[in-house]
Symmetry: D2
């Protein structure tokens, strides 16, 4: 409360765009435009604004040339102009640093507030945005492997329960999580729009960005992206997948951009819009939680992530996770995972390493 008036959180509509610093803008353009086919809304010497095929707001990704590859902001759209005020007040009440810019932080976006959130992430909230041509029916521009929507952000943070409580206060709802019998939470998926998530929290050293995710229409689109990376002889930039997630049930792929920023390509999760949408909790030792087919998660997927910037543009220091790590408890000598239900046998431990 502030002077008796309840501070209500902003009505967040969805994750909307990522403001991303890259070390080589031309190389990043080859990756996001030439390889992945994102559509250029605007570009100049210092930045490129990109959008997905079905997007009508100005961009879903801003690539900005900079000295340190890192996330400058995770930007969320809010329902009304007043929700920007609410966001500012809500974070200020929590003692967070905020910066309001009526003219926006990036081209195409108006009045916005950026905050350094309780977990150390730079979040932006905006409503005003330039509308651009929605390419939905422009099949003359539709490539094999077309990315049609921004789907979600995935963030690494040491204390997942703390992050979850904060985002629930902000109005996010949990769709799925990974825990163990001792009560440790390893990861949580939280949404505002009616999909499995707008933001996921993965336990680890942070604050860092684990990945940014785009959606395709069908599964063959994801296979085509792999095939194209093979043809371009950059298959070493395919980090993990393709596969079917246990969590979210989506078909997925993880690839790495020239700076090592991780991009997920993702399709066919499920509707979560009902108020009592059932939460799915996975046992960290269930070998199908991360890959429904039991294929191993490469260690780099657990350990590597992108830096995030503070509001001055400096990298946030990375804090170590003190809870057990999912990597440690599931892979290698100390790991214990099962594929089949208890009593059924069928362990696939050897496959994990």
């Amino acid at each position: 409360m502030t002077g008796g008036t309840p501070v209500i959180p902003p009505d967040v509509v969805r994750c909307a765009y990522l403001d991303l610093v890259v070390s080589d803008l031309a190389a990043a353009r080859r990756f996001y435009v030439d390889l992945l086919g994102l559509h250029v809304t605007a570009e100049d010497e210092s930045a490129i604004h990109l959008r997905c095929f079905e997007e009508f707001i100005h961009h879903n990704l801003v690539l900005r040339q900079g000295p340190v590859p890192a996330v400058a902001a995770f930007a969320f759209r809010v329902r009304t102009p007043e929700d920007v005020d609410r966001a500012e007040a809500w974070y200020r009440e929590r003692g967070c640093r905020t910066e309001r810019r009526p003219g926006g932080f990036v081209r195409g976006v108006g009045d916005a507030v950026r905050v350094q959130d309780p977990l150390g992430f730079p979040y932006e909230f905006f409503h005003q945005v330039e509308h651009v041509e929605r390419l939905t029916r422009r099949y003359d521009l539709y490539s094999a492997g077309e990315l049609v929507r921004l789907d979600h952000f995935n963030q690494v943070t040491p204390d997942v329960p703390r992050g979850r409580a904060y985002l629930e206060d902000l109005g996010f709802r949990v769709s799925e999580d990974i825990k163990d019998a001792a009560g440790t939470t390893y990861a949580v998926w939280m949404h505002r729009k009616q999909t499995v998530h707008d933001a996921a929290l993965t336990g680890g050293n942070g604050p860092r960005m684990h990945h940014l995710a785009f959606a395709t229409h069908e599964k063959h689109d994801i296979i085509q992206i792999c095939d194209k990376m093979g043809a371009l002889r950059i298959s070493d930039r395919i980090e993990r997948g393709p596969g079917r997630h246990g969590v979210s049930n989506a078909f997925y792929l993880y690839i790495l951009d020239p700076d090592g920023h991780r991009v997920e390509i993702y399709t066919q999760d499920y509707y979560t819009g009902d108020p009592d949408n059932p939460v799915v909790t996975w046992d960290v030792h269930d070998n199908q939680r991360r890959d429904w087919w039991g294929n191993p998660v490469v260690p780099s997927w657990y350990t590597e992530a992108s830096l995030v910037l503070d509001l001055d543009g400096n990298p946030q220091p990375v804090l170590e996770r003190s809870d057990p790590s999912e990597l440690a408890v599931t892979v290698g000598a100390d790991g214990f995972s099962y594929t089949r239900a208890p009593g059924q046998g069928g362990f696939k431990l050897g496959h994990q390493v």
Copy 2:
């Protein structure tokens, strides 16, 4: 207003199930279960409760044996138990007949109100519902052509603008519509969940139900349903499609159940959750509005529809549309439609008849 207290509409979450009277329950079961693969939650001699693959509420379709094939209720889920009260008050204030049943109208659903709405349709609003196993990851039960979600209802009504105003009051938002230069509205698509529609209004003699729609994951699933109907030698029950809609951009198919109730199979429309989601208005003479490939709409698709029942279970009388009909203005001798943008030529009139 009632005594100075504003009567606010219920917070409708989504279209949730259809209560459908069929003349031969065994024949309907062959269609919806054996052919289409809907999953049986419950059944007895008089009714079958069916759900889609990714549904967690008790059912999306109730088939009930009855003397006159007709829709008994279009049922919508609301956000809270109090929203049922709000629905009741909101319709009463409009002078509509309502019936409240704390124990629900059908198995698996609790406290609900049914109303005879201003357009003559039987609408139900409920919140309490039995949760059942969500089959999302049960790929051992996944058939070729699997129906994964209930997508929408499509209703025929003579006066589309009147219906649109009423549903906007109720909180629905328009995603797309079809008009002509003279201002006639032929159809409108309206949503609560973040898809193109929960309910569409098609201009014609009504109140009648035009169709009920289920979603598949991918386009090949819809092709498989056609192939299966061919194999079963019931291809005469394929009425229209498959094709790509102009409106909604979805890939579609229309088939007819044994009573002639029309079912659409539908996939890959687009996200509409932003508050300023752009409305798409189509010219009724644009030959790609109903089928993006310009394939003709069969006349029966414009003229045939299912009766709806009043709250006593009697068929509602069907009122004639006085506005021009889409069939008359687009098909045949008097029709005038174009495929290409003005000045480009390329009419496809001959294809229409």
Copy 3:
């Protein structure tokens, strides 16, 4: 026989390329290259040589500017250089005009013979051909809707049984045909490679070319071609489909190039390589023979076709079919077709007109 030596037919490997005259080379290029994505092997002011994604010979289609849109040659590859001699001898023995060119008729192809066959079609047989890069793994060049192989030619001829006997003598084998109870043959599908056909004969006024067919990998590729034609506002050039053939079981689409030459896009027929591969005979009145879903065949599909040239480059005169036409016996007032097996009911006649 010629002087006691048996004249054996050439060992035909497959249909290999079509030599096609177009009236506007630039417009044809927009259709075959910009729209359909065929790959240019060579081009100059008068001709364009195109190949499919998985082809390793110089081309599958030659577009040549000329005064009369028509087929200059249906070209087949034979197994050995000597098979070109055999082809020449085999047709000469039948009294057909032949022309041998050791340097080939078109760029990229060596020693070849062209003949005016007993049905009036210009056939070419060659073995020597320039190899080019097979793009099979070049997924960086793979478009949505990619055409991966030339599949077959379809030819219109008045007397189908006569044509069938001739092609069987030449070594082709029948996979499927359409007949009626009175013994009339309406169409026949014949192959050398292990698919349903390299050449089909459709009964009608001829000699004319009914269509040229390319294969895609999957069904969604064909849907994308339709979607793209919609986006380009040339949906009026979609003549028929997409649909599932009864005959061949392939998923299909028919579109028209700027000169009205018909192109089929085709995928997923079946293996026919066994010597006793079962022949499938369809009743002309079976409403699912041409479209497994019972969708109507537009009349133009039966009546329109491309001229073919003689060896001097003049259009062959078109002879009328005297047998009953498939169009007349299946569509309209005199037509009688069924969808369901005898005794099951379910006629779909009204849908046909």
Copy 4:
């Protein structure tokens, strides 16, 4: 030669069926029928005869209960009855043991010869076979993940060049192979039908069967098989994949039956029917040869394989490969593999282990 008459090899049409001994017929039935959906042509207490969706001969797989899980015969169809005689003579001339049974070795197959071939494999050649219903258009029986054709056998043998020379003598043609700069051949793919292979030889301790492969129509079918195995909690039986092969260009998956017999699911290789079809040779150090996306090959895939039986039903002794093993030269401390073309960097070695 035998007395001046040249012994010509049989005209082999294709790989046709595998005669496979399993230790638990009921468990094998659950795998091949309940999980994979193969269609039962015939079964009794000791054997099950299964066929693919588009097959018209009696079976593609015989499962027989027996004491030692092993391959009893790799059976190939020949073009004529006389080709069975030719096969018998051809192997006898090479000093191979043969057994002729005019009534056939298994139900549904007539006159056949089985041989113990120069590499120690039990090969069968037959022409006469019972025709059964080809289910091609029976989409009412079409499951998600349907297996439509038997595609190939893959055999492990110590001396690949020797095996290749023998199969070339028998009339097989090479489509692709894997070699190194020193001239060692690691594997070779050979075909009779117009696909990449009917039989592949993989270098290793043998004679053993590496795997049996079935084809699906599209890629999503293979993903569904993985998803179903996940749902049944037998993901530990997914050994490798899914992925895109470099060799063959097919989309693939390897799974293990209850006895450890390896089954590949495979789709979309390419046409090889031309006499000069280009042979593709891969460098064993090219990290994309086995998986175009550079995903690692699990060691078990290189080391595990099924025993094969001699004509008395006893397991053949397994001889060690003396050439370098592909596993040793590509995986682990001594391995050296590259993803990018020389000079481009981009090694993916760490991913391999």
